[in-house]
Symmetry: C2
Subunit: 360 residues, 2 copies
């Protein structure tokens, strides 16, 4: 595990005051100095035999968190600060944040395990496509679920180096008031440059195309479009960035197959992204180019706070705020009525956010 | 009128491309080089006799825009950029923005006149309290309305000088599908410092207490509390700033009385706020104090994008995005898990955002 560059202020504080003050849909965080080997409830651990998907997925996201943080730390030359917590009724999380590093302004990789309950509409929305058309009655009550996920956003200092986001998650529900048990996977990795370098986009999208193609040739076209359609800022008529892959509610084949795909996607984060940052991190740039990056970060904030389902859901249900908002950049900018000069590099980026294109 | 410091790029562009691209609930902006004397529909102008509240309110907000922009411009030493537009079916607006001035990072004062339609729920919400309990049936369709308003946010550079926001508006509906005609006023002025100076807060709140008391001694306690209750960031359990006054749906006395009160509130903006900026604009500050201001601006962004009714309504209904998001600061910052040292000036501010207090 990466060691902390800041004192873990909360490690010895059983309950953070801010957490106490919030009314919560889920149990409070209990901060711990080191995350336990597993965040699962004891009845879900099955003696570490990795027979259940809950166990396998937790191991996968914790391994991915370790590997990705180590690779980022090596490039940056500084290390991640870690906060770990558990909850009384099971579950917990590990947030790792690198702040004001040498290369990244802010980079965070979170994992969390949640035992919660969702409204029937959420269950229906998630399972409607492929869940056998289960239609819970409105009075079935909230549906208990298990979720485990990894999420990350990395914002580099240099405006020529892109921001990257990824998120992989696994959901399970138990039989409940006549509703059948369900499970599904979701996730994606996407890239948000301020300046377009064709070869960088080819490398990033090409890496994920290869991961997709190894599992199903139908995946990449479908998940690339899903990504372009999801990361849209409607009031700007722009996408947040230049895409990648995105998928949700996946349960149309054996769970182990989708798990293997998800694991390969997590495994491709480092290879798809770090070479771009390594190449651009020391590129020269002007004050105006830095400001353009800051304006694009403002758009990132607009998407995340107004439209991102994970963020808006998290804000309303009492998740750990600092982990939810870790995705926001360290700094952002809003200039009144800013419009790049026609023909400029800035206008080129905007063009692709207004009409997504293929890169591979 | 303040002259433009930037070329009015849009003055000679009949339809802005971004506006064209958006699907709109209201007609597109038609940019004009100078705002017409009145933005009302011709049948509402009544030959300039100022007999209708529509006319009187438009004159009041345009006068207030002129007076406030002039006063701010005098303190800043730079002038406002202006964009004006009309809409085919009536109404329009004037946005004035001062960007990267000597004193303010960003200061904007918008006025707008809107002929639109609202869902019955919105009509009911606005008139339920005091509208004679009118209960439109669900199929009454969207209710046509007239609205005129002024809104403003000013973010100074110096972290010792507070941000200020105000907004005053007048609504009218016509008889529609059995619903009676209604009208109401709303508005408020509130202050958002990064550092607390008791005498500044006394001055600001005292000014608005005097304005309120001159109209109704019940106003200030009621509207001060309304402000504290409205500008809350629930996921932070903090208020956005340190309050002021806020009111909505006011139609419990003669329209001319509430109009006079609204006008006095607009008239108090300069006296309540500019002395604080004049006093603090050249105060010395450290890098850390500037960063604290930026973190508080991040909270401002969180409130405005996630919770502010005007902003979220505007984003979803196709209003002019640049005017709606003018309220965002030029720059903002999100540090992971930032918590000020106990006993610090930063902690003092937080204390009051977590438990609003009286200042006069």
């Amino acid at each position: 595990m990466a060691s902390s560059v800041r004192p873990n202020r909360r490690a010895d504080v059983a309950r953070a005051p801010a957490a106490q003050a919030r009314e919560r849909a889920i149990a409070e965080e209990l901060y711990v100095s080191e995350a336990p080997k597993s965040l699962l409830r004891s009845e879900d651990k099955l003696e570490g035999k990795l027979e259940s998907m809950k166990e396998k997925f937790e191991v996968a996201i914790r391994d991915a968190q370790d590997a990705i943080c180590k690779a980022v730390s090596d490039v940056d030359g500084t290390s991640f600060h870690e906060d770990s917590w558990t909850r009384e009724d099971g579950g917990g999380g590990i947030s790792r944040v690198l702040s004001e590093g040498n290369v990244w302004e802010k980079a965070g990789v979170n994992i969390s395990v949640v035992y919660g309950s969702m409204p029937p509409e959420a269950y229906r929305a998630a399972t409607g496509q492929s869940g056998g058309g289960a239609k819970p009655s409105e009075d079935a009550g909230r549906v208990p679920f298990f979720a485990a996920g990894i999420s990350s956003v990395m914002h580099p200092h240099n405006p020529m180096a892109p921001t990257m986001h990824f998120n992989y998650r696994y959901f399970e529900t138990q039989p409940w008031n006549g509703l059948p048990a369900q499970w599904w996977f979701g996730g994606g990795t996407d890239i948000t440059p301020s300046y377009v370098f064709e070869e960088d986009m080819e490398h990033f999208h090409g890496t994920y195309k290869r991961v997709c193609d190894a599992h199903d040739p139908a995946y990449h076209p479908k998940f690339k479009k899903w990504c372009d359609d999801y990361f849209v800022i409607p009031h700007r008529k722009e996408t947040r960035g230049l895409g990648g892959i995105f998928f949700d509610d996946q349960n149309d084949r054996a769970a182990d197959e989708i798990f293997a795909f998800s694991k390969d996607c997590m495994g491709a984060v480092v290879d798809s992204y770090l070479p771009l940052v390594a190449k651009r991190k020391d590129a020269p740039f002007t004050k105006e180019q830095k400001e353009w990056q800051q304006i694009r970060r403002g758009r990132y904030v607009e998407f995340n706070l107004v439209y991102d389902r994970g963020t808006t859901f998290g804000l309303k249900t009492g998740g750990r705020i600092e982990s939810i908002l870790m995705s926001l950049p360290l700094t952002a900018r809003w200039e009144y009525d800013h419009e790049p000069e026609p023909g400029s590099k800035e206008a080129e980026l905007l063009k692709y956010t207004r009409a997504p294109r293929d890169w591979v």
